[in-house]
């Protein structure tokens, strides 16, 4: 696969002859990052797969209007984040589950998930992350696992760098406390 820059991919996408080809290249380029970002929010593989497809469907529909005011990948992350959070909210309202039950359900699904390959401590870490508020959960995953810059996170989440640093600090303290229990 030729390594096109985002700018080149967008130019290809705007040509009707190469639109599908360009979109395919965009999916190939970003699919893993988007998938793992979503997977860490929704935990379950099948749910993540649905959310990934819906994310790219949204991208397909809106890419023509993308004005390059922001970087393509921060724009994709923003869509993916919104889709994943909307999915969890919908799941909660669909089954009339209070938030705590959704968290419990996600925690339980870690142990029964055939696509979870971590040890006991990693499973406990994931359970601790699930308990975090949405914003802290996102910030922690993006900083800790994806090692994303705060500046980029700021563009994706629409929050100041200072607030993101504070969220990460609070998240680490909560996780540490959870990991120290029993």
């Amino acid at each position: 696969m030729t390594n096109y820059s985002d700018k080149e991919l967008l130019e290809l996408f705007r040509e009707s002859d190469t639109q599908h080809y360009a979109f395919n290249l965009i999916v190939r380029k970003y699919q893993e990052r988007i998938y793992w970002h979503i997977r860490k929010i929704v935990i379950n593989h099948d749910d993540a797969d649905d959310v990934v497809q819906n994310t790219f469907l949204k991208v397909w529909g809106a890419l023509q209007q993308f004005r390059e005011d922001s970087q393509l990948y921060t724009w994709l992350y923003r869509i993916a984040t919104n889709e994943a959070l909307t999915f969890l909210k919908r799941k909660k309202t669909k089954y009339f589950l209070p938030l705590i039950d959704v968290e419990q359900q996600l925690s339980n699904s870690i142990e029964s998930d055939p696509y979870f390959d971590g040890n006991e401590l990693q499973a406990k870490l994931q359970k601790a992350i699930i308990r975090l508020p949405d914003k802290q959960k996102l910030v922690f995953n993006m900083k800790y696992f994806e090692e994303m810059k705060y500046e980029d996170m700021s563009k994706i989440l629409g929050t100041s760098v200072g607030a993101l640093k504070a969220s990460f600090h609070h998240a680490v303290k909560k996780i540490e406390k959870f990991l120290e229990e029993d």
Binding site: F23, V27, W60, L121, Q122, L125, Y144, I175, E176
Partner: protein, 152 residues
């Protein structure tokens, strides 16, 4: 991130490795599945019917019409009521004839007691008087029972 070891020793021990995995060949097939999914949903998109496009405008127009009709009905009925009350200002014959179906004894009585009303009965021809007396719905009881009270 260096101070993470001091603020989160347990977290550091857990490591940064991704504990999740995906089915074999998942990322190889994902672009094709995404493309198919997008094509499927793009073609499935129902053409937007013009009725749905103008729905808000239609609702607004319907609401406007409703209020216009309501205002007209209100105006019409209030005018009717005014007309009925305006019998007071006309004359005794009109009171009896025009309000024949809903004749109100009190209305005629009030008109008579307000002595400054004109009475077209005096200036009426015989034919008009006969027509008046033969009028189907007239409440003649009042006229018969109190003939002396009714003095223009």
């Amino acid at each position: 991130m260096n101070d993470l070891e001091t603020t989160g020793p347990k977290l550091t021990k857990a490591g940064k490795e991704n504990p999740f995995k995906v089915p074999d060949g998942y990322f190889d097939s994902l672009p094709t599945r995404v493309q198919n999914y997008c094509n499927e949903h793009s073609t499935k998109k129902q053409p937007v019917r013009s009725i749905f496009v103008v729905k808000p405008q239609l609702a607004l127009a319907a609401g406007f019409c409703f209020f216009v009709l309501l205002a007209f009905a209100g105006y019409y009925y209030s005018r009717q009521a005014n007309n009925f009350n305006s019998f007071e200002k006309v004359d005794y014959l009109k009171i009896v004839v025009e309000s024949g179906t809903e004749f109100d004894d009190n209305l005629l009585y009030d008109a008579v007691t307000n002595g400054h009303k004109k009475d077209t009965l005096k200036s009426s021809t015989n034919d008009e008087l006969i027509e008046y007396l033969l009028y189907d719905n007239i409440n003649s009881g009042t006229l018969i029972e109190h003939p002396k009270d009714i003095k223009p």
